[in-house]
Amino acid sequence: MDRKKVGEELLKRLGREKVLTDELDLMYYSYDSSFLTKLKPVPPLAVVLPKSTEDVQTVMRFAYENGINVIPRGAGTGETGGCVAINDGIVLDLSTFDEIVEIDVSNMQVIVRPGIVHAQLNKELAKYNLFFPPDPGSSQMCTVGGMVANNASGLRAVKYGCTEQYVLGLEVVLPNGDIITTGGLKSKAIKNVSGLNLTKLMVGSEGILGVITKIRLRCWPKPKARGIAMAVFDNLDDAPATVLEVYQAGIMPSGIEILDSSAIEAVNQFKPEIGLPAAEAILLFEVDGNPPSVEYEGNTIKEIASRRARLVEWATDPKRMAELWEGRSVTAAAAARVRKDGSRIFAGEDISVPLSKVADTLRAIRKLGDKYGIKVVNYGHIGDGNVHSAPVINPENPEEVEKVQKLVHEIHLLAIEMGGTTTGEHGVGVVRREYAQLEHGLAHKYMQEIKKVFDPKGIMNPGKLI
């Protein structure tokens, strides 16, 4: 069916308020935050802005009957091309389907529609002294639906884990229009082992099995106190060794971040007033909990880090904490500005390796950067081995683009070789799909079989994840 006809049919079924068909409007949906769509944006056949599960069902039934692809989209902040209609199709912009259906304080749960923005949800939950712990860097803009679809996490995953740990149940519209509820039709139980765990299957499925229209999340009580420790190292290997010792001391910080020398240099270049000490690595530990435990854990971290670090500081004063954390909070922006005629790109940006291999991985990435003559700024969540590499190139220079694509490929292979994975939290989408077989072997075939069960016609976000 051609674009015009698809638009007409959707308008007939859903009305002008919920459907975009103008060619110019569609162009705005041709990208996400990936390098792939920066190079090659692809507009969809139409965009639908559903306001209810029934709207989604209407779209799915129409698409199923006519064999048209459907691509769910949240805020379009993903870095993998996952929400872009690379093989044509209807984009479902779920960001305005964003109601908080229920905050069930007595059961510490919240039921939301997929479009609710993460920070907004936590703002509402804070009124009840609750929070939804996974905290992606894009908290201010990303949708919870997108987080579920990508099993997102963030700085505090080291203690609080990923989105999957908090999803208790989902409402999903399947490609044929069927609506299923996972986690129990009427269940509000926190523990539930009845049936196959379709909730876990859906979390992180990147929209290839169905469209998530309702999410039941577990919330946690908000910690009362927080502290930050900064440790400066002259030897890169000392950083992961210190992290390990902290764990061995029975301490589980809420965040452990690393800036390597490339990131320190970028931050100091961007904001000299922050004045990070020149070093091989800086670690930032965040501890949260009740005040006495925070104090105890902070002091223990200080003592452990002092064995190897050149400089250690522990702070609970909000102003000083903000100052210590500032280096980390501006790293992404600093990477973006490290070169006047360049930009950081989101590619090869999310590998995850065993903690014991973090230092080797960082060194290897630096070497790869040198090999291709490309500046790479490295930072990340060392607590769980998740390294964010930011190659900085001029994306409009074809030669640099070609080189960086080779570099990124090598970074992905490096991750697998180190016993890790190509993505720790950002997802696969289009850009890392080529590694699926290498990463999963025979299991990959079974993933494809599972998709066929849900999506026999292959219309649900094709060309992504597996």
Partner: protein, 430 residues
């Protein structure tokens, strides 16, 4: 200047990683909520224009102009992109390819000639005074106005009978010893709609030892032109004003209007005039331009006697985008208000969120501007303040309309009006 060679177009487009941070802060996106209103989407469209993938059509202009030019996206962009400049550049490029007689008349003929603009204001005053405006409303004649103007004509506040220029002298001597020679950039909005602000400005400056000169040849700062696709006219106006003001050898060029000071700032002049011969002159001019609040605080270090007989007043302050976002001036107006005896400053929620006025935006996008305004009015009402202080004629007009729309009794003032009142209620100097 060729659109593709403008520095932001040449250097910044590629920096956008479409992270979406701009979506989360944009007041227009918060209302429309589709990607079509996202600032990163505008950046993308400018890229498509630059690369010739779309043609410079009115349809593209329409989408790009759904932006307040409040610069909230630009100051929040992790990649440091001046999104508003890209947008302005693209609007101008599209306009050049689709000239429009009505716009030429307004922005090239009327708004570049102070005498004509004044005559238009006089006509408006006449219409309001004689009841012609009310008659036109009653009889439905205002419905003949194009586009959103028919709804928006009510925003235009009561036009005073006399402009500030017709009241004030060109040269205003300081009281006592002359400390500084100040050029007063009297913007169109203050001149024609808020002459009381201009009188207060001159009063406060002369009281504090400034010789204040209002160059009669000065013209509009050019910001309305930048926002409406008339970059070339804005360029000509900037060059004209630079030459006029530089000829006086002022110590400072001061303006009470946030939009004017941002349009005359080095950042904006670099955007407009970068690479042109006049660049050096522009730099020397811009170095002397200062917002009035900042000037009174940092240069004059104004002091008001505690004995000033001022009434206790609850005041809340709204940050004009062109002051807070474009120039980072947030604490100065507040500090100035705090120096006024009797003023109790109450912060409103999201004081630096745009009020939706944004110069001509409220006239061309009435419904959206009202939604944005209503949020601002909620914040204002929560404070219980008797007065709303702000430092931009467009914000003053929009918030005054908000007061009317919500049947509120409060008054909208420029901080300098309160300063002037306080100074005049001090015990006489010995």
């Amino acid at each position: 200047m060729d659109f593709r060679n403008l520095p932001p177009v040449r250097e910044q487009i590629m920096k956008c990683v479409r992270c979406g941070k701009c979506r989360s802060v944009c007041p227009v996106f918060a209302e429309i909520r589709t990607e079509v209103a996202a600032p990163r989407g505008h950046v993308f469209m400018v890229q498509m224009l630059r690369d010739g993938k779309i043609s410079p059509s009115n349809e593209v202009y329409e989408r790009l102009s759904n932006c307040l030019m409040c610069e909230t996206c630009s100051i929040n962009c992790p990649s440091g992109i001046d999104i508003h400049e890209l947008n302005a550049a693209a609007r101008s490029y599209i306009y050049e390819n689709n000239p429009h007689l009505g716009k030429e008349l307004v922005f090239d003929t009327l708004w570049t000639k102070p005498s004509l603009l004044k005559a238009a204001a006089k006509l408006m005053w006449g219409a309001q005074k004689t009841g012609l405006q009310a008659f036109a409303r009653r009889t439905g004649l205002t419905r003949l106005l194009p586009g959103d103007l028919k709804k928006a004509e009510g925003i235009l506040s009561k036009v005073p009978s006399r402009s500030a220029r017709s009241i004030l002298r060109t040269k205003n001597s300081p009281r006592g010893e002359k400390k500084l020679k100040v050029g007063y950039f009297l913007g169109c909005g203050t001149d024609l709609l808020n002459p009381q602000v201009a009188l207060a400005t001159v009063e406060v400056l002369t009281y504090n030892g400034c010789e204040v000169i209002i160059p009669p040849e000065a013209k509009c700062c050019g910001l309305p032109h930048i926002a409406n696709g008339k970059l070339e006219t804005a360029r000509l106006l900037a060059v004209h004003n630079i030459k006029i003001f530089n000829a006086y050898d002022f110590d400072y060029v001061v303006t009470d209007c946030a939009s004017c000071s941002s349009a005359l700032s080095s950042k904006n002049l670099e955007f407009l005039l970068g690479g042109l011969k006049i660049e050096e002159e522009a730099k020397s001019f811009a170095a002397r331009v200062m917002d009035l609040n900042k000037f009174l605080l940092e240069v004059i270090d104004i002091k008001i006697s505690e004995k000033a007989k001022t009434k206790k007043t609850k005041v809340t302050y709204h940050d004009p985008c062109h002051l807070a976002n474009a120039q980072g001036i947030k604490k100065e107006p507040r500090e100035l208000l705090n120096r006024i005896p009797g003023v109790q400053l109450i912060e409103m929620a999201e004081a630096n969120r745009c009020c939706g006025g944004s110069g001509t935006y409220a006239l061309t996008h009435y419904d959206l501007a009202m939604k944005i305004l209503d949020k601002k009015m909620d914040s204002i009402m929560e404070t219980g303040a008797q007065k709303v202080a702000t430092a931009c004629p467009s914000c003053m007009m929009q918030i005054s309309y908000g007061m009317k729309r919500h049947h509120l009794a409060g008054e909208v003032v420029h901080p300098v009006e309160l300063v002037s009142q306080a100074l005049s209620s001090q015990p006489a100097r010995k």
